[in-house]
């Protein structure tokens, strides 16, 4: 089955910011964060969203998850309008923000998972099976009784992922999940993500600055800059645009800078 998990048409987001122009006078200025994004993501695919800082990646993710209201344009995620059906959609998606935690800092890790079971109303037996499965896969077994604040960043990211997956979402958003991780943790996380995508058919949308994430995991790459989609193609097609000696990092640098690719 190849349904469409995400579809957007002319998605825009304009923030209004006030800037100081004089001692008390403030000027209202519109900042365009996302300027008309059209996206179509198939069920079961693994898509990497990259772009320079401030390009509009996170804003786009926030509109897809119902956190932010789009200024204009259409969004459908799993058939829902995210902002309107926020809680319904939340039941079916998982979100990991690399820079913010959804675990309970002072409690043993296992209790965060138990709390999430109640929040997502997962039946007890099903929860136990899913958790056993995920804990094994992410090697969290020995850490379950430790307070979250004592976990290392790598351990915590794995825990965050499990937390986002306990309700078995069919769509997973990952916003810079590998930020700050060492090589070993990064590799472990990537392996686990690949397994989730393949075994459970979970659609995964990943934003990252680490192009190795994209290279290892994503079959398709979306490049966003200045709030627009400037590339949206299979990874292989993107790599075909340059001579074989040029790696992805150099390729993307050239695209960001607007340099010729060959």
């Amino acid at each position: 089955m190849n349904g469409v998990a995400i579809r957007t048409r002319g998605l825009r987001k304009v923030f209004s910011a006030r800037t100081k122009v004089g001692r008390v006078r403030r000027e209202r200025r519109d900042v365009i964060a996302v300027e008309g994004i059209d996206l179509e993501i198939e069920t079961g695919s693994f898509v990497g969203v990259i772009g320079p800082n401030g390009a509009g990646k996170s804003t786009t993710i926030k509109m897809l998850t119902g956190i932010l209201a789009p200024t204009s344009g259409e969004v459908h995620v799993l058939g829902h309008v995210p902002l309107r059906d926020r809680t319904l959609l939340a039941q079916r998606i998982g979100v990991v923000f690399g820079q913010r935690s959804q675990l309970w800092w002072d409690l043993p890790l296992i209790e965060s998972f138990t709390l999430l079971r109640h929040i997502y109303r997962v039946p007890s037996a099903q929860h136990r099976a899913t958790l056993d499965d995920l804990v094994g896969q992410f090697e969290l077994g020995p850490l379950l009784d430790q307070p979250v604040r004592t976990l290392s960043l790598g351990q915590r990211m794995r825990a965050e992922l499990v937390a986002a997956l306990v309700h078995r979402p069919s769509l997973l958003f990952l916003d810079e999940p590998t930020i700050g991780l060492d090589v070993v943790s990064k590799f472990a996380l990537r392996d686990a993500l690949a397994v989730i995508n393949v075994e459970h058919g979970t659609t995964i949308v990943l934003t990252t600055h680490d192009l190795a994430d994209v290279e290892k995991l994503c079959e398709r790459v979306v490049i966003i800059d200045h709030g627009r989609t400037i590339r949206d193609q299979p990874l292989s097609a993107l790599l075909d645009e340059v001579d074989s000696g040029v790696d992805l990092e150099e390729l993307v640098r050239r695209i960001y800078l607007g340099h010729p690719l060959r």
Partner: protein, 258 residues
């Protein structure tokens, strides 16, 4: 979630004990303050010890109840916006307001509530209420209504933080300041302060106005029974207003970078 919050708090045991001590001290101080006023002046605005304690206790219980479950949590909203915590709550399948209430719940506020309960009990007993079944209902309605008024005020005031995340202090002036006003007979205040108490900061509606339905106390403002009755229902429109403002605010949430 509230239980989790409490368990997390209990990880720091000494501060828990200290809070119990502080809360008990507060109870004694509040009681002594009223007693001293009455002892020194006989009455306050014509109101004796019983009615005054009724005002203090009932407004205290309802305010602390609102503070424990709504106010104290929702005032963390600004901080949650700044830290991005709100984003995490927004991608969970529960109403945002409920989650904020649970997420920032603090047991110490329940203790502050507990300290007010004896004051309210003595106040109700001493206010000179001639009990009828109807008055029992009215008293219950006073509690429900006042809690609704205080909670709604908390919600509305804190919605400001969606646009200006540092307006906390101003918000506190409305809510905690309002609670201070609710402790005294409104006719003590003159002119514009009195107007504020039934408009901008609607504390007059919480206990003072409805109290004339319960006992005979000096009524220099000539509050009529229907004004008292209207006040008793003021929580309903206020709660609707609060929920509308809240939904508007959440839909205009701008989040933070990254």
């Amino acid at each position: 979630m509230m239980r989790a919050r409490q368990r997390a708090d209990m990880q720091y045991r000494l501060s828990f004990v200290l809070r119990i001590v502080a809360a008990s001290a507060q109870l004694i101080l509040e009681f002594v303050a009223v007693w001293a006023l009455v002892h020194r002046f006989g009455t306050v605005g014509g109101w004796g010890f019983g009615p005054l304690l009724f005002l203090l206790g009932v407004s205290g219980v309802t305010f602390r109840l609102s503070d424990a479950f709504v106010g104290g949590s929702i005032e963390r909203c600004a901080e949650m916006i700044r830290t991005g915590r709100l984003d995490v709550l927004l991608v969970r399948p529960l109403g945002l307001l409920w989650q904020i209430m649970g997420d920032a719940f603090a047991v110490r506020r329940l203790m502050q509530l507990a300290t007010m309960v004896p004051l309210a009990a003595i106040g109700v007993a001493q206010a000179g209420i001639e009990w009828t079944p109807l008055r029992v209902l009215i008293l219950a309605a006073v509690f429900v209504n006042a809690t609704a008024v205080f909670s709604s005020t908390f919600v509305i005031v804190n919605c400001l933080s969606f646009w200006a995340p540092t307006t906390q202090e101003m918000g506190n002036a409305f809510t905690y300041g309002g609670a201070q006003m609710a402790k005294y007979p409104i006719h003590l205040f003159d002119g514009w302060v009195r107007m504020i108490s039934v408009s901008l900061i609607p504390v007059g509606f919480t206990v003072y106005l409805p109290s004339f339905l319960l006992f005979d106390a000096p009524n220099p403002l000539g509050i009529t029974w229907w004004q008292s009755s209207l006040a008793l229902a003021s929580g309903v429109p206020l709660a609707f207003a609060a929920s509308a403002v809240w939904r508007f605010a959440v839909n205009h949430y701008q989040s933070t970078g990254s």
